[in-house]
């Protein structure tokens, strides 16, 4: 395929993904907006007003970057895992498999589709947060890089999950039992400085902590970890997961007999 043909194929996958999640917006776009609004009201306004400051900022300002990141992570992941698994389930994945689209373009297309949803939700949550607090940006490049790379990373995670899944239960196990606990324990609602030494050490093994803090540094200028270490870790995980996903595609894991 020529470069132009590859670009057309890539755009086709991305546009189909965008068409999918906008077609079912009550399932994809609305729920995170409602959930995050509740978080802002309950944790930010009602409880946050009694907590006081954290990391030198009022509690609402402190949790906003983490909540934006949480929305980006869960939606990037959910979009790819549900879309790709549905295609496997309906066998419409065969439309792609018989076509000349190379594996890396298929992967890039799905990741970009996941990012489109994750970043759209991130934008919606950011706009909603402005109704509750004022946001200033400490480092725009850091904000952009962290949110884009994190979204790409969790889109890759969703893709691998979908490749491995054989039934619908399999696509909810990771988000429920891995992603959600790691996100909640990743410093969204608190600074790890508040934890005893041992639990601080345990928290440092949570990759989501680095992403939340990298993004928080971009917005507030404060972080529990070095933001450049955060970026480095995200990049390493992206390379690792992309390699795994491409190898699975080449072997046809779960999609070819």
């Amino acid at each position: 395929m020529t470069l132009h043909a590859l670009w057309t194929a890539f755009c086709t996958i991305v546009l189909r993904e965008i068409r999918r999640f906008t077609r079912i917006w009550p399932q994809t776009l609305l729920p995170p907006a409602v959930t995050m609004t509740l978080y802002f009201i309950i944790f930010g306004n009602l409880i946050g007003s009694r907590i006081g400051e954290m990391g030198g900022f009022d509690y609402m300002q402190f949790i906003v970057p983490g909540l934006i990141m949480m929305a980006v992570i869960t939606n990037s992941y959910a979009n790819v895992v549900s879309s790709f698994f549905s295609m496997k389930f309906q066998r419409s994945i065969e439309e792609l498999l018989v076509s000349p689209v190379p594996n890396w373009t298929i992967l890039a297309g799905y990741v970009a589709g996941g990012m489109a949803r994750g970043l759209s939700i991130g934008l919606v949550v950011t706009l909603l947060s402005l109704a509750f607090t004022r946001l200033s940006i400490h480092s725009l490049p850091m904000v952009v890089m962290t949110v884009f790379l994190t979204s790409a990373l969790f889109s890759l995670g969703g893709f691998i999950n979908a490749m491995l899944a054989t039934k619908f239960d399999d696509i909810s196990i990771v988000p429920t039992f891995v992603l959600t606990p790691l996100t909640y324990l990743g410093g969204v609602f608190y600074s790890i400085d508040m934890l005893p030494g041992f639990w601080q050490g345990v928290s440092m093994a949570n990759p989501i902590l680095y992403m939340v803090n990298g993004f928080r540094f971009g917005i507030l200028g404060v972080s529990d970890v070095n933001p450049f270490v955060s970026l480095g870790m995200i990049l390493v995980f992206i390379v690792l997961l992309a390699t795994i996903a491409l190898r699975m595609l080449a072997r046809g894991k779960g999609i070819r007999h």
């Binding site: 057309t8 309906q90 066998r91 419409s92 439309e95 498999l97 000349p100 070819r256």
Partner: protein, 316 residues
């Protein structure tokens, strides 16, 4: 000569040890209308699955218009359109979107994809349904949608795995006409079917596969020459209550009241008409019963099964 499809020593083994294909060889010439026949589980869909990259092969070589799928997969796929046995499109997407999206996968820009999609949706009588979600279509429409989707990038080789399964007779005939037209315009067509009447009506060359082996690969004409007996259906001027006793011929009445007469090779039709004349039976029209291929197919598969059993007994 460049073949539309060239298969050499194709093997498919599963981890259970089951060998679905035992090193088959197959060539399909450019412009051919080719049938791959065989009983259920013979290896037809596995063969076509490997050609269309839906199944991983265990050994052997496959070339599509000279492009080896191991080394030039992209070029091979560009020449190939696939209509699978089971519906495999997104049930929630609209008809037009399904076809244009498929064109996009082949690198066709949206503007051109829309033109091509309209062309094939119109040809297949689906243009009025273009904005309908695919799950709302009837079974026959879904089959035609898969054909339109397979053709949208104008492939030189079209593979159809049981394209008329579950389709009513009228629609089947219109699909035959469409496929014949595509073949006349230069598209090489390979189909598998359980309707042997379909293969007899459409195809020029035939391969019969059984237990993962090609047991026959020849032209339809050569295959039909092997028939020792041919059955003719005779419509009579006056209906008869029972099949007449004709010297040298076996006759039966079919469900429509027409007379079916078996004529052995070399017997000639004149002798049949002489016998009918003797009994005062007048024939107003006559046609060949379209089950010749079926007779041969059943016989070959049975012979192959007997041979397999015999070899198994010898080995034991």
């Amino acid at each position: 000569m460049t073949y539309a499809l060239e298969i050499e020593g194709l093997v498919k083994s599963y981890s259970s040890g089951f060998q679905a294909l035992k090193g088959i060889d197959l060539q399909v010439q450019e412009g051919d209308f080719f049938a791959l026949l065989g009983p259920n589980g013979a290896g037809k869909s596995t063969t076509l699955g490997i050609v269309s990259s839906l199944v991983n092969k265990s050994g052997g070589r496959v070339k599509v218009f000279g492009h080896d799928i191991d080394t030039e997969l992209s070029a091979a796929k560009l020449n190939l359109g696939v209509v699978p046995q089971e519906f495999n499109f997104n049930q929630f997407e609209k008809v037009f979107d399904i076809v244009t999206t498929q064109a996009g996968y082949y690198g066709i820009p949206l503007k051109q994809a829309r033109i091509s999609a309209e062309k094939y949706l119109r040809k297949l009588g689906l243009w009025d349904k273009r904005d309908t979600p695919s799950r709302m279509l009837s079974g026959g429409m879904k089959r035609r949608l898969m054909i339109a989707r397979a053709l949208v990038h104008e492939p030189r080789l079209l593979i159809l795995d049981e394209p008329t399964a579950g389709v009513d007779i009228e629609l089947r005939r219109s699909m035959w006409q469409f496929l014949e037209e595509m073949n006349r315009q230069g598209t090489t067509i390979i189909l598998t079917t359980h309707y042997l009447e379909e293969a007899e009506a459409l195809c020029r060359n035939i391969a019969i596969i059984d237990h993962g082996e090609i047991i026959r690969h020849t032209s339809k004409r050569e295959l039909l020459k092997q028939l020792s007996v041919e059955t003719f259906v005779l419509d009579l001027e006056q209906p008869v209550d029972a099949a007449p006793e004709l010297e040298g011929f076996h006759c039966e009445l079919n469900d429509d009241g027409a007379l079916e007469a078996e004529v052995a090779k070399g017997q000639g039709l004149n002798a049949l008409f002489v016998e009918l004349e003797k009994q005062g039976i007048k024939v107003i029209s006559m046609r060949t019963k379209a089950n010749r291929l079926e007779e041969l197919f059943v016989r070959m598969v049975e012979d192959n099964a007997r041979e397999t059993n015999r070899q198994a007994e010898v080995t034991a």
